[in-house]
């Protein structure tokens, strides 16, 4: 740390006193200590994961020269080693995150290795989905017993894989309803560790949880894809609102997967629905209410939208009306427009107006907060909108040309204005 070298000089010059100097030194000593510990965790966990995966690969070779008895013994060997390791950690090293995480990660893979070897020896066909399900169920208690975040992450990846296998990749596909209770099993762990909001494990969760939800939701779509589209808008709105809640306010943006996935996803889907073909197919659709109520897409849409509205209310409760972020109410506007879209072609115009408005409001927000990143995000939204319209051949060339020129000059003007404002403030 360069500041530590400066301390004697600062002391000499009388800028700080002896007490401040020793407090600064103490602070960096503690910080350094935790960073050492962090290395330990990273290497411990990586070592355990790589060894575990290696064991699975060695097993997948399928040693058919060995007798059934020998192979059965080998199936239990890594499992028992992992269990002994974890028992040791629980008894002697319970305070060490590195030991707990590494032991639990190793046992996680040992369980997978053991059931896959048994399936091999007895030629058990059980498809990949049921194999993953057994594996994840056998390992989820480790999240709580070992207080292991890495198992929680692996489990989350595992159940997402399971849901994709069942819902997208196998034939015939079925709805992975089991994903939801499986997902709920990790929420207490996630919640209990919330105070450690600066921990990297929680940061990984903050990315993996929204990612997993976005991936899995589509597996519940069969006949009413257009409702899945609105369900997705509501889900992305919900994710954005979670990312924008008080709890995440202090977090760095790069650790806030909810906000990034939520805002990029919302803008992306809005742009996709800014073309008329999306609404054209909607207007041609004959919807029967009875059929719709039973559709899983419709159910998903209702549940997620209610959750998102609840979150919207919760966020807005203690804030003034002016403080509404431009992206937060988009999902509600889209919902209204979507139902209008069944009857009228005005929907596509409204969507284009929303995107334009969103872009302008975000640019304004960037200006108010003196934040170049936000300002340019707003400009990019408008650029994307204009680019989409570039492909709408029913608009005249001159009109499109003027739009491009305007947006291009807008880019220069807005950035120049903000930089100048900064200079004046300095």
């Amino acid at each position: 740390m360069s500041i530590q070298k400066e301390i004697p000089e600062l002391l000499k010059a009388g800028v700080i006193n002896q007490e401040t100097a020793s407090r600064i030194l103490d602070y960096y000593r503690i910080e350094k200590g935790t960073s050492n510990n962090r290395f330990f965790i990273v290497f411990g966990v990586l070592g355990a994961i790589i060894t575990g995966l290696g064991i699975i690969l060695i097993i997948a070779h399928n040693w058919d020269e060995l007798s059934r008895f020998t192979r059965t013994i080998f199936a239990f060997l890594p499992l028992v080693i992992g269990q002994i390791l974890c028992a040791y950690v629980l008894m002697k090293r319970r305070q060490s995150t590195a030991w707990r995480e590494a032991g639990a990660a190793f046992l996680f893979f040992a369980v997978g290795a053991s059931i896959s070897l048994v399936s091999q020896v007895y030629n058990i066909p059980g498809n990949l989905g049921s194999f993953l399900l057994t594996w994840m169920l056998l390992c989820f208690p480790l999240i709580y017993v070992m207080r292991s975040s890495i198992v929680s992450l692996l489990y989350l990846a595992g159940i997402t894989f399971y849901a994709c296998e069942i819902g997208y990749w196998s034939f015939p596909t079925s709805f992975p309803y089991l994903f939801w209770p499986l997902f709920l099993l990790i929420t207490p762990h996630y919640y209990l560790f919330r105070e450690k909001s600066r921990s990297n494990f929680i940061n990984f969760h903050n990315w993996l949880v929204p990612l997993s939800l976005v991936i899995v939701l589509g597996a519940f779509s069969k006949y009413h894809e257009e409702f899945m589209f609105t369900a997705y808008i509501s889900l992305l709105g919900l994710l954005y609102l979670i990312g924008d809640s008080e709890f995440f306010r202090g977090n760095k943006l790069r650790n806030n997967g909810y906000k990034i996935i939520g805002s990029l996803g919302t803008v992306g889907l809005l742009l996709a629905s800014s073309f008329d073909w999306f609404w054209e197919s909607l207007r041609r659709k004959d919807l029967e209410l009875a059929e719709l109520i039973n559709a899983p897409e419709f159910l998903a849409f209702i549940i997620i939208s209610l959750l998102a509205m609840g979150m919207f209310y919760f966020n807005q409760k203690n804030r003034s009306l002016i403080d509404i972020k431009p992206l937060s109410p988009i999902f509600i506007l889209f919902m209204i427009t979507f139902f209008l879209g069944f009857f009228s072609s005005i929907a596509v115009v409204l969507i284009n107006i929303y995107i334009l408005g969103l872009g302008i409001l975000i640019i304004r927000e960037g200006g108010n907060q003196n934040h170049l990143g936000i300002l340019n995000f707003g400009l990019l939204i408008i650029t994307a909108l204009v680019t989409c319209r570039f492909f709408d051949t029913d608009l005249s060339f001159v009109f499109r040309g003027i739009m491009f020129v305007l947006v291009g000059t807008g880019f220069f003007a807005a950035n120049y204005w903000l930089l100048k404002k900064r200079k004046v403030n300095e």
């Binding site: 997948a60 399928n62 239990f76 028992v80 629980l90 997978g112 059931i115 066909p125 057994t134 017993v145």
Partner: protein, 199 residues
Amino acid sequence: MNNKKILLGVFVLVALIQLFVPANMIWSREKVLSEGTEYKFKTAPIDPNDPFRGKYISLNFEQNTVEVENADDWIMEQEVYAILTKDEDGYAKISSVEKERPDGEEEYVQAKAFFVSFNGSNKLSLEFPFDRFYMEESKAYDAELVYRESQIDSSQVTYALVSIKNGEAVLKDVMIDGVSIKEIVKSNKDREAEEKTDL
């Protein structure tokens, strides 16, 4: 201290379940192998692979369809029970299919309805729970080649040797003319190695 004991207790329970599940899988299969009846299912293998469990030969069975009274009664992925008999050459044959577990003397195997023909022939095809035969990674492809050769030579018969008890089935081996496919691949490899050294 008390908290530690509870945690350790829970861990021991989890560890026991983790041991019990694979042990139980082994136990039930061993029982079928030692006490079950052997059946030979004529088959047609190919070799895909599974990311966790390695290479296997996927088996398609010749005798996997059965005539039903009304095709509309059956749906895809439905659990069914296939009643088994043997034909004059001793190969397994489905005599009928039922939705409820049979309680009589007849031998049966639990399977899944896979495809229902609606062209009036009322044929129901089944998916047997023993369609994977795991092989060592270097042998799986050779096994497929050996199988293809055996198909060209119509005098050879490929079949799966399956042990069946109370509806549960365990695949023991895949045979070509009574010889294990593992043995054939192994002797082919040995012969190739010998030819190489002779050269």
